[in-house]
Every structure is written in C-alpha cells, then in structure tokens.
C-alpha cells in the first residue's frame, strides 16, 4: 500500500471522527483569553522590573563596596589567576583548560607582560594535518625547527618555578629579565608549557583558539 493511498484512507477516517465530534465545542469564552493574557502581561512586567532592580542593585554593590572592582594585577578566576608581586614579578597559575586564552593574555598585558596564550586541544594537533606527527604544535602552521625559542639560559632567568602537571601549570615571570622583543608563550591543551619566544620570529598564523567546528 502506498503512502498516497494510506493518506487518503487516513483522511477519510479522521474526517469521520471529526464529523462525529460536531458536539465538541470550546467552552472558554474569548473574554477569558483576554483576561488570562492581561494577567500574564502583568506577571511578565513584574518579573522584568524585578530583574532590572536586582541587576541595578548588583551593579551598585559591585561598584560601591571595597573589593568590588578587582585591582589591576590581581585576577583570580576558576581557570587561572595572575598576581603582580611587589618585587615586579608576576605569578601565573593555570588550573583548567583555557576556554578563553585571550582573557589571560590581556590580564598579563595589563601587568606589562607581552604574552601569547594558546589553547590547542589534542585533536587539533593530530587531525587534518599532512606530514605532521601527533606532536605538531598547530596544524595551520609550519614550525620548521620548532618554536622560535630564546636560549635556555635566558628563559631560565625570565621564567622560574614552572610546575607542570596537566591540567596544572604554575610559574613566575621576571619581567625585568625578559629581553627586548621577547614574549612569554603559554600553551595548554595537548601540551602544557610556558616558555620564552623571540617575538620577531613568532609565527603569525597561530590563532588564539581552535578553529571553528573542532
């Protein structure tokens, strides 16, 4: 039996059912619909007003109370924290995968640290990538000879105490020991590392996060 034949038969049967329901009528008058709608509108209005009042109170409290505004150099989030120390160093702690690497990059920039922060998940470094091993840093870039790192002796002076146990990375940046034009390169995801790169040789093709759809 084809769909068309079933459709015709069904139409027939349901038309009979509908015909036999001629005595079924809506008992709710239109006035009841208007009244219900008015009540809903009022409730919605009250809810919107309450939300606005709560938001206004929240903003006022955040602005007025001491500590409501985080001082520059002290950012503590669930995923990471950045602390500017009195001796001019900056302590960075990363506790989770970075959903927003740019946020950490901007926080470091506020403390005078030029940094490039990347979240490169494992699958990004292994898929759709010709001629690279699993350890390729990013598929979109050619890192011939590896990342453009500063010499180890320079890096050791600029970045100390790097404790890496994924998903955890903690280290101290000595801004005064960073050579002119160098940047701190922080990567989480497949590799968890903090190292010092020569800015001029940093590949520009490294995006902040994984490409859309990964």
């Amino acid at each position: 039996m084809t769909d068309e034949a079933t459709l015709t038969a069904l139409r027939h049967r349901l038309a009979e059912v509908r015909d036999s329901m001629r005595d079924v009528h809506m008992t709710i008058p239109d006035n009841a619909i208007f009244t219900d709608a008015r009540k809903r509108r009022t409730r919605r209005g009250i809810a919107v007003a309450l939300t606005a009042v709560c938001a206004a109170i929240g903003i006022a409290v955040a602005l007025v109370l001491p500590g409501g505004q985080a001082p520059a150099g002290h950012v503590h989030l669930a995923a990471w924290s950045v602390e500017a120390n009195s001796d001019g160093t900056v302590t960075v702690t990363i506790r989770q995968m970075l959903g927003n690497p740019v946020g950490l990059q901007q926080a470091l920039a506020k403390d005078g640290v030029a940094a490039v922060v990347r979240y490169i998940p494992y699958k990004t470094s292994t898929r759709r990538h010709h001629g690279h091993t699993d350890f390729a840093t990013y598929p979109a870039c050619e890192y011939q000879g590896g990342l453009p790192k500063e010499p180890d002796s320079v890096t050791a002076k600029a970045i100390s105490g790097a404790a890496t146990t994924p998903p955890h990375l903690a280290f101290v940046i000595h801004t005064s020991a960073m050579p002119e034009g160098s940047v701190v390169y922080i990567e989480t995801g497949f590799v968890w590392t903090a190292t010092l790169l020569t800015n001029s040789r940093l590949p520009r093709c490294v995006p902040a996060g994984p490409p859309p759809g990964w």
């Binding site: 039996m1 079933t6 038969a9 069904l10 059912v17 079924v24 009528h25 239109d30 809903r40």
Partner: protein, 170 residues
C-alpha cells in the same frame, strides 16, 4: 464611529477565535485524547497568540500555529507530569472526559506517534495544508515533512491494518 487600534485588534482576534476555536479543539483532541486537557491546551495557545497578535495576524496559517503550539505544550506538560503517580479513581475521571469517537485503535496509534510525526499528520491530514506550508509552520525543510509523514503513515499502517482494508474497499 472610530474604533481604536487596540479595540480593532481585539475585535479581529475575537473573530479569529470564534471562527477557528472548535476546529482547533477537535484536532488537538484527536491528538491528545482528553477533552479537558485539549481545551486547556488550545486556550493557552490562543492566549499566546493574543499576546503577540500584531505579529500573529501576519502568519500564513494562524490556525496551524495554534495547533502546533498546543501540541508542543502537551509534550511539555507530559514531560513535567510523567513521573507523577495518578490518584486512585483517576482513570474514572479520565474515562468520562473522553469522547466516544476517540475510542479507536487508529487514534490510539496516532497518539503514540512522536510529536513531529503527529504535528505533520495534524497539519497535512486534518488541516489539509500542503507540504510547503506545513514545512514553513513547523520550521523544517519540505523533505523532512515528507519523511515524517512517511514514517507516521507506516507506523499507522502497522498499528491499524484496517486502514489498508478501508482503502481496498473504497
């Protein structure tokens, strides 16, 4: 006499309500099975339509929108109440709320269909809309409407073999 915009809207909606409410109720009742619940769902859908009447009046098939909204609300209601234990005597009340015409294996099969298939059948068969309009109202491609209809009909053929017999007789 000049009629204000709001009053005109009200009048227009009242006419729409009077013209379509019974049809909508019957179609939703076929899908839902419970008279009181069907009436509540349809009234709720009309209330939502009135709240956005300025937009709704432009709708290509406002009656179909009412039915779709009522059937969606029924699924939401079912999700909220599926874990509730019925009170003793509940079946008794439900039986009196049921219309005699609704007692058939075909309608029972129809009510067992997934929501999308039921919506497609309600719009295509009961409201007699074409595939393109059904697709527009349910916000899905025409091919998906055809596919839901095909699956729904296949399920109904399976549930109600009499559907095939009737076709052979007519």
């Amino acid at each position: 006499m000049r009629v204000s915009g709001v009053e005109q809207d009200r009048q227009e909606f009242a006419e729409f309500y009077a013209a379509t409410r019974d049809d909508c109720l019957r179609i939703v009742l076929i899908s839902v099975g419970d008279r009181q619940q069907a009436e509540d769902l349809v009234a709720d859908a009309f209330t939502k339509a009135w709240l956005t009447w300025r937009k709704m009046r432009q709708h290509p098939a406002p009656q179909a929108w009412i039915i779709r909204t009522a059937l969606n609300a029924h699924v939401s209601w079912w999700r909220r109440h599926r874990r509730e234990e019925p009170l003793a005597g509940y079946d008794e009340t439900a039986a009196t709320a049921q219309h005699p015409a609704l007692d058939s294996s075909l309608l029972a099969g129809l009510r067992r269909l997934p929501l999308r298939q039921r919506q497609v059948i309600a719009l295509r068969v009961l409201l007699d809309l074409d595939t393109a309009t059904t697709a527009q109202i349910l916000s899905m491609p025409s091919g998906t409407v055809a596919s839901h209809l095909h699956r729904g009909l296949a399920a109904l053929r399976h549930e109600c073999p009499a559907l095939g017999d009737q076709e052979r007789i007519t």
